[in-house]
């Protein structure tokens, strides 16, 4: 039995890795083969995988994970500003800081469960968001957002407006006007940026897969299934929950860091609770508790966001041009609700449709369809013997 499971796991992992690495080719026919979008898909994939470790395995619905994105982004930018444009330290510090932050928030929020937990995490995230705009502006640069700048010449210049980059300076690296992020010389924009994120996504997937299949993962699933019973089985659930929360917080921190890596600017809007809601949607759209689902959800949402929000009434008009004129205008007027600026309407509607009709997400849908086909082929084999029931 174990060997078979092992084989299945490896097949899934290798298949996943192959698909991710070939994403530019796969997405080319649907017009999604451009680095900016590909990077986003990979980054949000990481975010969603991490979120799923908490929500999918333990059932604890956090509405505050965007806070960790913010922590990761700000930390990375400070690493760029103070130390080096090399992304390695930035990523390492971001993940560590997000983990510590998650420990603090988790330590408090996990005293409660259910909706109370959701509200507590929401409260913490909103606090971080508000503080980023007010008291913490010396660190976050408020509404303007934090950016990398040229090396400051005058020590009196605020660090927000002039960088020091100690390590780069010590190494005597010459800077052109606008420094760019790099991984030991490999630029983090364009396709290299995507492949960097993709490799991290694959590593993250691997870790998540191991975690899910480990004894630890089984305990997390038991928490979701029946936490009360687990207590009477001798398990102290709190450390497990805190561990899951911290791990998913670190994933979010990594995602936030990668956002800064691919585009070195950080603003507080990344921490807004709608951003937390977005990752929830990605996870449930793909399939809560599945490994591939959250990444799939992230990909679909990010793709749809780019496409749908770029459409306008003109495109709709030509799309409905086969209809009689009156109907055409009506349809494109109706469609205008959902495209361009109205993309969020589509998002909200998608949210509802998934929760109402397909709580298991796309992965569940695939499973159902597969089951139907399996039954069909089976009944084809046996139909000769067994008479079909009348309709």
């Amino acid at each position: 039995m174990d060997r078979k499971t092992n084989l299945k796991d490896w097949t899934l992992f290798l298949g996943f890795a192959a698909v991710v690495l070939c994403l530019p080719i796969i997405l080319d026919p649907i017009g999604a083969n451009y680095p900016d979008l590909l990077q986003k898909i990979a980054i949000f994939g990481i975010f969603a995988i991490g979120f799923n470790i908490l929500f999918g395995l333990t059932g604890y619905l956090s509405f505050g994970h965007a806070a960790f994105i913010g922590v990761g982004s700000y930390m990375s930018l400070w690493s760029f500003k103070l130390l080096t444009m090399n992304v390695l330290p930035a990523i390492a510090f971001s993940v560590i800081l997000a983990g510590m932050f998650a420990y603090l928030i988790g330590f408090v929020s996990l005293r409660r469960s259910g909706i109370y937990f959701s509200i507590l995490t929401l409260a913490f995230a909103q606090m971080s968001y508000s503080l980023a705009y007010s008291v913490l502006t010396p660190i976050t640069n408020g509404e303007t957002g934090l950016q990398t700048r040229a090396i400051r010449t005058d020590p009196a210049t605020s660090l927000l407006d002039g960088d020091i980059r100690i390590i780069d300076q010590a190494l005597g690296i010459q800077e052109a006007s606008v420094p760019t992020t790099h991984f030991f010389g490999m630029a983090m924009s364009g396709y290299t940026g995507f492949y960097f994120c993709a490799v991290l996504l694959i590593i993250c997937f691997f870790i998540a897969q191991r975690l899910t299949n480990s004894n630890f993962g089984m305990m997390l699933k038991a928490i979701k299934s029946n936490q009360n019973r687990l207590n009477y089985t001798g398990i102290h659930t709190r450390p497990y929950l805190i561990a899951a929360f911290v791990i998913s917080g670190m994933y979010a921190g990594l995602a936030g860091s990668l956002m800064a890596v691919t585009d070195p600017i950080a603003g507080a809007e990344r921490m807004q609770w709608t951003a937390s809601g977005e990752v929830v949607l990605m996870t449930i759209l793909g399939g809560v508790g599945t490994l591939v689902g959250p990444v799939l959800g992230a990909g679909i949402i990010k793709y749809a966001e780019q496409k749908v929000s770029s459409w306008n009434e003109g495109i709709l008009d030509s799309f409905f041009s086969f209809l009689p004129e009156g109907l055409q205008h009506f349809m494109s007027g109706l469609g205008a609700l959902f495209v361009g600026e109205g993309w969020h309407t589509t998002l909200g509607l998608l949210f509802m449709i998934i929760v109402i009709f397909l709580p298991g997400g796309i992965m569940e849908g695939i499973r159902r369809i597969a089951a139907v086909f399996a039954r069909k082929s089976k009944s084809n084999n046996t139909s000769a013997a067994a008479p079909q029931p009348a309709e």
């Binding site: 909706i115 509200i119 409260a123 909103q126 949607l281 909200g348 509607l349 109402i356």
Partner: protein
Amino acid sequence: MDAIFLQFLNGLDKGGAYALIALGLTLVFGTLGVVNFAHGALFMLGAFCAVMLRKIFNISYERVSETEVDFLGKPLKEQIPYLKGIFGEDLGGFMLDYSVPLSIFLAVIVMGIVGFIMERGLIRHFYKRPHADQILVTFGLAIVVGELIRHYFGANPIPQAAPKAVSGSANIGYLVGLGPNVIYPWWRLVYFAFSVSIIFGVFAFLKFTTFGMVVRAGMQDRETVGLLGINIEQKFTIVFALAAIVAGVAGAMYTPILPPDYNMGMDFLVLSFVVVVVGGMGSLEGAVLAGFLLGILQSFASMQAVQNLLPGISQIIVYLVAVVVLLTLPRGLLGRKGVMED
């Protein structure tokens, strides 16, 4: 002293809005067992009822003035609202002036219908689903409603004027003998009085009508009520519509204080949930108490002296209180045993 009194007053109207929203949330949660993340959107819809009514009242036709001329000497073209044409100058002008309070009637009708459709069409199917699903589906609905409003009314806040008679400020200090420095907008006082009377109205309704008694019993123990042969699910629609109406009128009347935009629902929702949790999930009294408490606290936290001492505190005070309360009083201030316990 004056400043403190003023901040106290300042907290009352906001507290009233929190209390009204939290009241509906609690009512729905306590009876239907549904966590409604779209409740803030109902508040926002109510506010847009006021916007809508003013728009309708302002639909005008053009008339060439017989007496006045513009600066070029041509006869002036005037915009005359149909309203004045129909009801005459006086009554029409009165209606225009009082469009915000009058919008309560529109809000009651619209929100009643919205609440009815929402409960029958969506909420009803989520009674037995996990809270997480309820949160997610109503969250999605809130986004959709907000975006539709944005589509039709734009993204910018739309200011609404209070009726002229109460648009100025009251010299409260003079009235209560605190010196002439406590000046306070009339409309905020109106809002406070309004919210208190709605709260009393709802409590009286629950206390003195048979329907209310069944609802309260249902909040205590749904199974027992079911056993008594009362089909409480039939009453759920009415409860939900009532909560929607309360949120709606609260929103409509709030428009002169805060110009409504499509996003105000979300802002108020997050705060109202905090209010509900602080008050104690399932406790109506707790929701009202916590609503005013947090409103007043928030207003004190925004005083300059407090700001200097603890910068940024006004932004986070509500959440901070929520965290402290949840950790020290697991059931909130007045929460009942057995509701949503772990």
